[in-house]
């Protein structure tokens, strides 16, 4: 126990090394700074995937460690994206408007400039005024703060209401799903102030840096995403390695018992829920500038469900499992749905993966839940137990039943 944190968590070191290696290799092969084997759009895909890894870590903390199956974390992710998107879109539109007004015989007043930007941004939803929520959109610092604050406050308010009334288990899942649905329906409205179903677009252009080629920008974001993922990983590993992690796992396995030990389960859940929401917000803020566009469909409940799918397939309750699941499944998904996977001709019917991938994913998800509840991460147990045969005792074994019984009572 006295050993340093990293020594006790060799997986963290391995993960960080792999992440660094990955980033270096991609950089060397990229179009921006390297040999050009990896296209810019694929660099973006990889960068986005790293962000998905980060949000998967936040999901794993709430679900894998604390047993709260939140179907709202992708909503927090999207909110983070919206917050940074507001600044990007405002500044970018401002640049465009300023340059177009520069030729006018009379220089534009601040009010006229503001009106022109508002018309440019909100004309598509039939408005020409900035809604109140755009009040800080001209300040990068404030919008960056909102990336954390908005998801955090929403999670805090929702979590306070939900945990206080002891909503747990599947009820909480359904409630978080309802929250996500409410949020996405709200954003779908034209008068939500965030451009309705048009969403925010043109986010790939960094204001003031229009001369920098996208090939380079994509690398910056890749590095940023890798850094965020690395930091997020270390933070998550550090949190769960200590007593906090113990309490979380205790909450997952037997909430009532933790309460009788004197821990206020509700506060722990609230802290975790809020903290991971902030983390998801940061991941979203890195993701959407690479995606270039965000709209309410991104926040729809199904997205949060996919997040759960990734974590489950990767293996919940271990942080690297969540990252592996997110990376593996999302890359595989984009490979299949991108039309790059070869179709299978059965003679009477041709299986086109664009159509059939979701069927396969859905069914394989069922299979993973049934037969491999530890997910891909479980494979590492097989390897590590072979390397280290002196592991104490066997798997949970016959007492597994006791664990089930407890869940049944909840």
């Amino acid at each position: 126990m006295q050993n340093s944190f990293l020594a006790r968590n060799p997986s963290t070191l391995i993960f960080l090394a792999a992440l660094a290696l990955f980033t270096i290799v991609v950089t060397l092969l990229s179009e921006g700074l390297g040999m050009g084997f990896v296209s810019t759009s694929f660099v973006k895909t990889l960068g986005k995937t790293l962000c998905l890894g980060l949000v998967a870590i936040s999901m794993d903390l709430v679900w894998g460690y604390a047993g709260i199956l939140s179907l709202g974390h992708f909503a927090f992710f999207g909110l983070g994206g919206y917050m940074i998107g507001m600044w990007l879109m405002y500044e970018r539109t401002r640049d465009v408007v300023v340059s177009s007004l520069a030729d006018a015989p009379i220089p534009a007043s601040a009010q006229e400039l503001n009106d022109a930007i508002a018309t440019q941004i909100f004309g598509v939803v039939g408005s020409a005024e900035f809604p109140l929520i755009w009040a800080f959109s001209d300040s990068l610092v404030l919008q960056l703060a909102l990336v954390v604050l908005v998801p955090g406050l929403l999670a805090l308010a929702f979590g306070w209401l939900a945990f206080r009334s002891r909503v747990a288990g599947v009820y909480l899942s359904i409630l978080t799903q309802a929250m996500t649905l409410a949020l996405s329906l709200y954003l779908f409205q034209n008068d939500s102030g965030l451009r309705g179903n048009n969403g925010l677009s043109g986010l790939q252009n960094l204001p003031g840096l229009t001369d920098v080629p996208q090939a380079l920008v994509s690398l910056w974001f890749l590095w940023g995403s890798a850094l965020a993922l690395g930091l997020g990983y270390v933070l998550a590993a550090w949190v769960v390695s200590g007593k906090f992690g113990s309490v979380l796992r205790g909450i997952r396995d037997d909430e009532a018992r933790v309460r009788f030990l004197g821990y206020s389960v509700e506060s722990y859940k609230l802290v975790l829920f809020t903290g991971t929401a902030c983390m998801a917000g940061i991941a979203g803020a890195l993701y959407y500038p690479q995606a270039g566009i965000i709209n309410p469909a991104e926040i729809a409940p199904i997205a949060s469900i996919y997040l759960a799918v990734w974590v489950a397939i990767g293996g919940r309750g271990r942080i690297y499992g969540a990252v592996i699941g997110a990376v593996f499944v999302s890359l595989l998904s984009s490979w299949f749905t991108g039309g790059r996977a070869p179709n299978i001709d059965l003679g009477f019917y041709t299986i086109q993966w664009v159509d059939w991938w979701l069927v396969v994913l859905g069914l394989s998800f069922v299979l993973v839940t049934l037969f491999a509840p530890k997910g891909i991460g479980g494979l590492f147990d097989l390897i590590s137990s072979r390397i280290m045969p002196d592991r104490h005792g066997a798997d949970l074994g016959p007492d597994d039943g006791a664990l089930r019984e407890r869940e049944a009572r909840e």
Binding site: A162, G169, I174, L175, Y186, Q189, D191, T369
Partner: protein, 654 residues
């Protein structure tokens, strides 16, 4: 002048020709038509009125036939002599001609010798109005009814007299009633006698009919006007408008501008354009262009331009206020009689109260029907989730499967009534089988692990949805209700409910009864409750929990399938049909209280009424209604975490 002369000559010639032709003596109606020949042929909405009046006022019994033929584009002109006939097509080239006066067939003519009179819709409408007075006394009651409908649509002063005249001779009681009502409405609008109008207004006070409300609204039509002093006595003032309160100062000033009482405001944009026109050497009116980003500098520059006479002076705010304070703004009724408008306002108020009450009733009906839809969608869940405790996220997809089953059946069985009758049990069978298969293959391995059940069924849901997309495509498929379910049960002009919603309500009640019967009166229900409460004990008493779970789950899924058929009848059948309902369905069960069918009923009622209520408050935005609904539910759960009907004590399994 020459043209007139020529036309006159032509008419004369025609007459003489007609006289010369001994085949037809100039008959009364033909004479009238000939007199108006020019107008009839010209057929312009603006000038046709005298011609129609001449025909109507001729007092001839044939007038109605002429007008009908004319309106129906059956009146033709024989080019040779300019006489008018009713013509019927014999074959593609030849037409049979009928004389208007005798009604007899007078011969045939090739199409090339005839000219068809094709009155445009404006003219036809005028003819229609003229026809009404004939139709009001038509021996056929249906014609008379049609005439009344026409009056209702196009009320006009000229109809009042014939309508009044026709009331005494009306034999049909129902029609007499309608005529009296139409007469009152016309009197309100066009009557000459003020007392009679007020009496009529008081009579229809509180009437819900759209026509009555439209009549009152027309009577109360008003426009804003402006006066320098108090409004004169000869105008009927509805109310005075205080600037900044009932009328915005911008609107008020614009009114003054329109009356050319004051100079127009100069907008910021105009100032900018004017300034841009007068830029010389980087300066406007002594101000450098670069400084013009500020409003003060712009005003200064513009002021300089005005001083030079290069720009229109812009009224200052003080001037605007002074102009506004010098004028009095008022809303004036178009109707001059104050007594009439007062009576109308009073009647309108009473009508509004009535309309409000009936709208509330209508809203309640809407709420009930939405509640029954939610109840239908949720009742299957009440079994699988409420009774068995199994979270089935693919429940929505079972609803979708039911709807698609209905669609497929309709492709095979074209008769809609029969196809629905076939589809309901078939949908039950299909989803029952799907439910049993899912229970056997997936769920039974996950009993007691609710979160994993939730996830696995999500997987099934994703796969089923995509499968449906692959099979049926992404476009919506129709599931058509039988014709006898078309239309609506109309109580009055405000309250109505479509039969299909009534059918769904009845279906929901039926399912409630079936559910209660199965759970309380059958062996399966008893065994289900036993297995749910204590599977070990139930098994040791000879109940096979596997079988019971399988059947119960199948039952819940089967009901979802039937709900799918019902929902498909009014919603488009798409692969997303299920996911549209799944969250609300779970909410219904959770809000109502898990494990209690009455709770589900209350939950559905609450959510249905609440959603309709919110939609009523903000009708333009159903998305917002759903958002607020969900927020409300989240808050509701704060106060009743176990739902409306909560199980208490140890049974709740804290």
């Amino acid at each position: 002048m020459i043209r007139l002369f020529l036309t006159g000559l032509f008419v004369l010639l025609n007459c003489s020709l007609a006289v010369a032709q001994s085949t037809s003596v100039q008959t009364p109606m033909q004479a009238v038509l000939q007199e108006q020949s020019e107008l009839i042929v010209k057929s312009s909405r603006k000038s046709i009125a005298p011609a129609i009046d001449a025909i109507t006022e001729s007092g001839l019994p044939q007038a109605q036939d002429v007008l009908q033929a004319w309106q129906g584009k059956d009146m033709w002109l024989r080019k040779a002599d300019g006489l008018f006939f009713r013509a019927e097509k014999l074959d593609s080239k030849t037409y049979k001609l009928f004389d208007f006066d005798s009604g007899e067939r007078v011969g045939e003519a090739p199409k090339s010798e005839l000219k068809q009179l094709k009155p445009n819709s404006g003219v036809r409408a005028l003819i229609g109005v003229a026809l009404v007075q004939f139709q009001l006394n038509d021996p056929d009651p249906e014609r008379r009814r049609a005439a009344l409908v026409s009056i209702e649509r196009n009320p006009s002063e000229s109809l009042l007299a014939p309508l009044r005249a026709s009331i005494t001779t009306e034999s049909d009681e129902g029609l007499k009633e309608m005529k009296l009502r139409a007469e009152r409405l016309l009197t309100i609008s066009f009557g000459a006698d003020e007392a009679a109008r007020i009496e009529a207004i008081e009579y229809i006070s509180g009437d819900l009919g759209v026509d009555a409300r439209a009549t009152l609204n027309r009577l109360l039509a008003s426009k804003t006007d402006v006066f320098t002093d108090a409004p004169p006595d000869n105008v009927n003032v509805a109310r005075r408008l205080e600037v900044g309160d009932a009328i915005s100062s911008a609107e008020a000033y614009q009114l003054l501008v329109d009356r050319q009482l004051v100079p127009p405001l100069v907008s910021q944009n105009d100032i900018r354009l004017t300034l841009a026109q007068h830029v010389t050497d980087g300066k406007v009116g002594g101000v450098s262009v670069a400084a013009l980003t500020e409003a003060v500098q712009r005003e200064k520059a513009y002021g300089a331009l005005v001083a030079e006479g290069l720009a229109e002076p812009a009224p200052t705010e003080a001037e605007v206020n002074a102009a506004l304070s010098q004028h009095i703004f008022a809303e004036l009724y178009d109707e001059p009689s104050a007594a009439v408008t007062q009576a109308a306002e009073k009647a309108m108020q009473s009508t509004s109260v009535h309309v409000g009450l009936n709208q509330a009733a209508d809203l309640a009906l809407d709420g009930i029907s939405l509640a029954s839809i939610y109840f239908l969608a949720a009742i299957g869940l009440a079994i699988t989730f409420g009774v068995m405790g199994v979270i089935n996220m693919a429940h929505g997809e079972f609803i979708m499967m039911g709807a698609y089953t209905g669609y497929v059946v309709q492709q095979v069985v074209p008769n809609h009534t029969i196809s629905i009758i076939v589809a309901i049990p078939l949908a039950f069978a299909v989803t029952f089988a799907a439910g049993v298969a899912m229970e056997r293959l997936v769920i039974r391995w996950l009993y007691n692990r609710p979160l994993e059940t939730l996830l696995a069924t999500f997987g099934v849901s994703i796969a089923l949805q995509q499968l449906a997309k692959n099979i049926f495509g992404t476009q919506a498929r129709p599931l058509t209700a039988p014709a006898w379910l078309d239309g609506a049960w109309v109580l009055n002009d405000v309250v109505s409910i479509s039969y299909i919603r009534i059918a769904i309500f009845v279906l929901a009640l039926g399912f409630l009864a079936i559910f209660l019967f199965i759970m309380k009166r059958t062996r399966l229900g008893l065994e289900t409750r036993a297995v749910t409460q204590n599977p070990g004990m139930a098994a040791s008493m000879g109940i096979n929990p596997n079988r019971v779970n399988m059947l119960t789950f199948g039952l819940g899924s089967g009901i979802a399938g039937v709900a799918g058929v019902a929902i498909g009848l009014f919603a488009k059948v798409t692969s997303e049909l299920g996911s549209d309902y799944i969250v609300q369905s779970f909410m219904t069960v959770v809000v109502g209280g898990v494990g209690n069918i009455w709770g589900t009923l209350f939950g559905a009622a609450m959510i249905g009424f609440m959603q309709k209520g919110i939609e009523w408050l903000n009708p333009s935005n159903t998305l917002a209604a759903q958002t607020f609904m969900i927020i409300f539910i989240i808050i509701f759960i704060q106060f009743r975490p176990r739902g409306i009907i909560a199980l208490k004590g140890r049974a709740a399994g804290d």
